[in-house]
């Protein structure tokens, strides 16, 4: 019964397999093991470690309502709809990709052709009761219009609280005050993206 052949999924060399201590066979060996375990003082090592931590007083608690954790850029919380930095108009072009890719089918949008014969997004909503915060919508969006925010306090009085277009779209006054931040996380261009731009091979 060797399972190791199956279990070895190309782990890096130097991976140590531990099969447990060899089982003592005779009573004398058992007694020796008992003695070594009892006298070795491993128990006291444990005692010392916890005491050391207590003396160091290196507390890692975050007292939540008073202090809040700063979420990393890749954290996927309630969505935001961003505006274009130049004109302040909505970034969303109504392509519908996000609606299409959403695996829990919770994005609903409605578009129409406006008087300038451009596509206008009239309705955009995410049902956060169903959203699993997978991040596909942000990743697929060609305009980086729908992105994840970092607010993780999702308690609200109504189900639809965060999910309408008005809630998610950066309000104009906030935008004018230069408060809209570019989204650095999921689906955004990396900082060194320029390096990877290559010439289109025109030889074809």
């Amino acid at each position: 019964m060797e399972l190791r052949g199956f279990k070895n999924r190309n782990v890096s060399p130097g991976y140590i397999f531990f099969e447990g201590e060899p089982k003592p066979l005779t009573s004398w060996e058992q007694f020796k093991r008992f003695l070594s375990r009892a006298v070795k003082g491993e128990l006291f090592v444990g005692l010392w470690i916890v005491l050391r931590e207590m003396i160091r007083f290196d507390i890692h608690t975050l007292q939540y309502p008073m202090e809040k954790l700063k979420m990393g850029p890749r954290y996927r919380a309630i969505h935001k709809l961003l505006r274009l930095f130049d004109s302040g108009s909505e970034r969303c072009i109504g392509c519908g990709l996000c609606e299409k890719i959403c695996i829990s089918n919770c994005i609903k949008m409605d578009t129409k052709v406006d008087e300038k014969s451009r596509k206008l997004v009239t309705q955009y909503s995410i049902n956060f009761g169903r959203c699993i915060f997978c991040g596909y919508c942000a990743e697929v969006c060609p305009e980086l219009a729908i992105v994840h925010g970092s607010s993780y306090e999702h308690a609200s009085e109504q189900r639809a609280s965060f999910g309408l277009k008005e809630d998610m779209l950066t309000p104009l006054d906030k935008f004018k005050a230069n408060k809209q931040k570019e989204f650095p996380g999921f689906g955004a261009l990396s900082k060194d993206a320029d390096k990877f731009v290559k010439k289109t091979p025109l030889a074809y």
Partner: protein, 330 residues
């Protein structure tokens, strides 16, 4: 007349001891949460009162005002009486414990012991072993598999530790020639060198281990070990009945700490310039800290391991200790 005075004095002492020990037991829960938190790099309760000090009151209010739920299908009288046994036996045990040296108030000498019976030590151990009925009855009457397992483990635990605690204490008793805790204390008058721990180190270790088993503290808290049997015997309990179990456990902890301090660590005799009462307080606090410390650091043992270690290792060691003590004394 004298009899009336005695009765009044005893009642007053009993009430004071009850209130103080119950209060200390409550406070010990707070200390426990704090110490465990610090050892695990947490802060523990912080929000209720300064540094969470009033958490105690909050917990008390919560426990007292909760609905007293008695589930369907339990054996009602036994289910209701089990927590009372836990608390009562713990508080009966403190009747024979002397805490401080005697002192004089308004020309009236007070012995801080409720009743100085001359078999005090045995009495305390008897009360403690009656206390093990509480988890057993709770487990059997709860109509719940986890509780039943907890009750079964309580039997195992009692049958394991009782032998060790009884035999380990025999050595000191043989040396002192009395079962009264006051005599034990007086035997060790005169500084640290006279402490019994130097003469009976083996008995000290054995008694400490048995004490951990007796109070269901961590290495041996198998009767309510969450990872294996949810909450053991207390699974079906809530509110004040659960609180009584809790108070009983902490009162037991205090009693055991006092016992160890008196029997092995010189009792309430003065050390150097530290007066006896304060020395006693320090010793008891250190022991309670040890209980918490061990809880933070050590893993649990299995029931079969407890039985194994008690009957096959500790009991022979205790017997050898008794034998050696006997040889040395003769």
């Amino acid at each position: 007349m004298i009899e009336t005075a005695l009765i009044v004095e005893t009642v007053v002492k009993a009430i004071i001891a009850l209130a103080v020990i119950a209060g200390m037991a409550g406070f010990a829960t707070f200390i426990e949460r704090k110490v465990l938190a610090f050892m695990q790099r947490r802060l523990g309760p912080m929000h209720v009162g300064p540094y969470g000090l009033l958490q105690l009151a909050a917990d008390g209010i919560k426990l007292f005002t909760k609905e007293d739920i008695i589930p369907q299908n339990v054996v009602k009288p036994i289910f209701m009486i089990a927590p009372v046994i836990a608390a009562a036996s713990a508080f009966v045990a403190i009747a024979a414990v002397p805490y401080f040296p005697e002192f004089t108030v308004f020309g009236y000498t007070i012995h801080p012991i409720i009743s100085d019976i001359n078999v005090g030590l045995l009495f305390i151990m008897g009360a403690a072993s009656v206390g093990m009925y509480a988890p057993l009855l709770a487990g059997l009457s709860s109509h719940n598999k986890w509780s039943l397992l907890g009750g079964a483990r309580a039997v195992i635990q009692l049958l394991s530790f009782e032998v060790v605690s009884g035999l380990s204490i025999l050595g000191p008793v043989m040396m002192i020639g009395s079962l009264s805790l006051i005599n034990m204390n007086d035997y060790q008058i005169g500084g640290v060198a006279n402490w019994l721990i130097w003469k009976q180190p083996l008995a000290f270790v054995l008694f400490a281990i048995a004490g951990f088993a007796e109070t269901n503290r961590t290495p041996f808290d198998l009767i309510e070990f969450e990872a294996e049997i949810v909450s053991g015997y207390a699974t079906e309990y809530s509110g004040m009945r659960w609180g009584l179990f809790f108070i009983g456990e902490y009162a037991n902890m205090i009693t055991i700490s006092v016992l160890v301090s008196i029997i092995f660590l010189g009792g309430y005799n003065d050390i150097w310039i530290i007066p006896g009462a304060i020395a006693m307080l320090i010793k008891v606090s250190l022991w309670i800290f040890l209980f918490l410390w061990v809880r933070a650091a050590w893993p649990h043992v299995r029931p079969d391991q407890l039985m194994w270690v008690c009957w096959k290792v500790l009991m022979p060691l205790a017997l050898i200790n008794v034998l050696i003590t006997g040889i040395v004394l003769v």
